[in-house]
């Protein structure tokens, strides 16, 4: 029966490759096309050179500023930590500014130039077109990252930062930039104008970078509850006029306690938090302030927020001098990781961008973005 069918059917009528079918050949074709288009436009090269100079300048200035401090004979702390964290923060900040421009015009820009349909009528699948474009914009973003690595390594030479930290930082920067590219690609498939998709991408990145932490702060009153807490406090009825140091004793007091462990996840998707939290946790929190490594401080702060309030407070030991033994245990920040949650959320956003873009590139299409022609 099936043999008969084949004999009568003049050619296979199989639907061929599906929307999500992916081949290395197809992916490479689109990526090479996009990169050729991009690399040959001089603007991109200029941007890369400007980037290199700006990051270099920042590194030079911070190094200069802190090496003056380091020359101070009374200050022998390594200054690498602070320079390193400033450079990483700056690279990430600039990366978040540049990455949306690399991808947010990739689809609607082609549509406006009349070159998108040219690809859609070929045998490339929508997934190959979208992921090829994503790969190209990601590679372009990684070029900016690679241009910054010399300065990161230079900061590393200042001491105080482990090589492992450099590795995790660069890795996380790369992933975060990829996510931003994917979000931009999604908007570029969704919106007709390239300026519109760029704005939406910036708003999204700004949302997870700035708005969520602000929401975290604004929710503090809501997450603060009045509870009875054991406090190691000065003895009852102690008069502060006395010359003798007070004795400490346990009291039970009603206090407002901020349960930041309920809202810490609002901080997690922040790219700076993801990058900071992925580095190995500092062993000695007290060294943080001296070192000035802002990434480590950010990591400590986020972990602190996730740990939540202590069960008991010590309001007394500082009054009577450091030599007295406090029964209150010091808060140990959790070693539970924050970044996998944040990165997971960011990756979901990026994946949503890709899914949206692939669905919008399916042919034949039933709908068009407003005011656009297919060709």
């Amino acid at each position: 029966m099936s043999v008969d069918m084949q004999a009568t059917a003049p050619r296979p009528t199989a639907p061929g490759r599906g929307t999500w079918s992916l081949t290395w050949h197809g992916l490479r074709t689109v990526t090479v096309l996009e990169l050729r288009q991009r690399v040959r436009s001089t603007r991109w090269k200029t941007a890369l050179v400007v980037w290199f100079l700006v990051v270099g300048l920042i590194t030079l200035l911070t190094t200069g500023a802190f090496s003056i401090l380091a020359d101070d004979p009374y200050n022998d702390e390594p200054f690498g930590g602070i320079v390193y964290s400033i450079v990483v923060g700056f690279v990430l900040f600039l990366g978040l500014l540049v990455a949306p421009t690399l991808s947010s015009g990739a689809i609607n820009g082609d549509r406006n130039a009349g070159t998108l349909a040219t690809l859609q009528v070929t045998l490339l699948t929508p997934a190959e077109i979208v992921l090829g474009k994503l790969a190209a914009s990601w590679i372009a973003a990684l070029a900016f990252l690679v241009a910054s690595i010399p300065f990161l390594a230079w900061a590393l030479a200042g001491g105080g930062v482990s090589g492992l930290a450099l590795l995790t930082t660069v890795l996380m920067l790369a992933v975060v930039l990829g996510v931003v590219c994917a979000i931009g690609l999604g908007f570029s498939a969704l919106v007709g104008k390239t300026s519109g998709s760029a704005v939406l991408t910036y708003l999204t990145v700004g949302g997870i970078t700035a708005v969520l932490p602000i929401v975290f702060g604004l929710l503090a009153p809501v997450t603060t509850t009045t509870e009875e807490v054991r406090v190691w406090d000065v003895e009852a009825g102690y008069s502060w006029e006395e010359t003798e140091a007070p004795d400490c004793e346990w009291h039970t007091r009603e206090l407002g306690v901020w349960h930041s462990e309920r809202t810490w996840w609002l901080l997690a998707p922040n790219p700076f938090v993801v990058v900071a939290d992925a580095q190995p946790l500092t062993d000695d929190p007290d060294a943080l302030l001296d070192d000035g490594n802002m990434l480590a401080m950010l990591q400590y702060g986020v972990r602190y927020a996730r740990t939540g309030p202590a069960a008991e407070y010590d309001w007394c030991s500082d009054m009577v001098g450091t030599d007295s033994q406090s029964p209150v245990e010091e808060v140990v920040v959790t070693d539970q990781l924050v970044w996998p949650w944040g990165l997971g959320f960011d990756l979901l956003l990026g994946a949503a961008g890709v899914v949206v873009a692939v669905n919008r590139l399916k042919v034949p299409t039933a709908r068009l973005p407003r005011g656009t022609r297919v060709a």
Binding site: P12, T13, P15, T29, R36, A113, G114, L119, T365, A375
Partner: protein, 306 residues
């Protein structure tokens, strides 16, 4: 029992919001023939070609391109269809050769096959000497030729050409006509939309007229048995008119010029008219079709619409 190749569209509709770009189109284009798609601006030609190229889904109706339905068998249909859009966007940083090898790769040719095909096509459309220039330095007509080459990369069975002649110089138009006839001779189905009706006259075998998104007429062009108008001039216009009146042949003057227009049933009638005019001693200096078949058919349809 439908034949396998060619293009068939039946009752095809497509609207964009309130605009019925294609309201009801029936179209058949046979393999080995060149079919002209003719209609005024905004009549839905480009939308129809997008539907046939498998870029848009029709709201209603059925389409078959080279035996495949562009909606349900998109991949198969795309592998057999070559589409040349009216607006040829270029990857302007790529060279002409790279444009073609990229499209070849996109049609899943391996690198060597794509390179060979690109060289062959550049030769075919006379762009070999510009092959390694970036596409943005090409003139409009050269881009148009590159677009034609691009549509041919995967040797499609069905070719959809949207205004292929626009921007071409006379030499390139002749080349295009020869190329299109060659492709049809190879058994390919060619659908050409154009405004340049005289151009289509010499290229097309069949014509489909659409207006306001509907098929309004289907004509065969190549057969010389259609009634059409002929332009007749003689050394002495007054002698010519006198003879026409005497022989009872209806005619009309063309403006203030010396020529007269006569409507004749077919080519044989034209030959007969010439023979008897010369026999009657009228010094006929020319007898030629006044405008193309398509132009006359088009104008006739326009008049019907009013």
């Amino acid at each position: 029992m439908t034949p396998d190749g060619g293009i068939r569209a039946q009752g095809v509709r497509r609207s964009f919001g309130p605009v019925h770009a294609v309201a009801d189109v029936d179209l058949v284009a046979a393999p080995g023939r060149v079919t002209a798609l003719i209609g005024p601006n905004g009549s839905g030609k480009t939308t129809l070609l997008l539907l046939l190229a498998g870029l848009l889904t029709p709201d209603a109706g059925t389409i078959s391109v080279a035996g495949a339905d562009p909606v349900t068998e998109s991949y198969a249909a795309r592998s057999r269809t070559g589409w040349m859009p009216d607006v040829f966007g270029t990857w302007d940083s790529l060279t002409a050769r790279e444009v073609l090898t990229t499209v070849g790769a996109a049609y899943r040719l391996d690198a060597a096959a794509a390179a060979a095909r690109a060289a062959e096509l550049l030769e075919l459309v006379h762009l070999s000497d510009l092959a390694d220039q970036p596409a943005h330095v090409l003139s409009r007509g050269q881009k148009q030729r590159l677009g034609m080459a691009r549509a041919l990369v995967h040797d499609p069975e069905v070719l959809l050409l949207d205004e292929p002649a626009s921007g071409l110089d006379p030499r390139s138009r002749v080349d295009l006509r020869v190329l299109v006839r060659q492709l049809a001779a190879q058994g390919k189905t060619v659908l050409v939309s154009s405004h340049v009706l005289t151009e289509l006259d010499e290229m097309a075998d069949d014509a489909v007229f659409i207006s306001r998104g509907r098929t309004v007429a289907t004509r065969s062009v190549a057969d010389g048995d259609l009634p059409r108008e002929w332009r007749l001039t003689a050394l002495e216009p007054s002698a010519l008119r006198r003879w026409l009146e005497e022989s009872g042949q209806a005619y009309r003057s063309e403006g203030d010029g010396p020529a007269v227009i006569v409507e004749l049933a077919d080519d044989a009638a034209a030959a007969a008219l010439l023979r008897s005019a010369v026999g009657a001693g009228v010094d006929v200096s020319s007898l030629a079709p006044a405008g193309g078949v398509l132009e006359q058919a088009y104008l006739a349809l326009e008049e019907e619409r009013r």
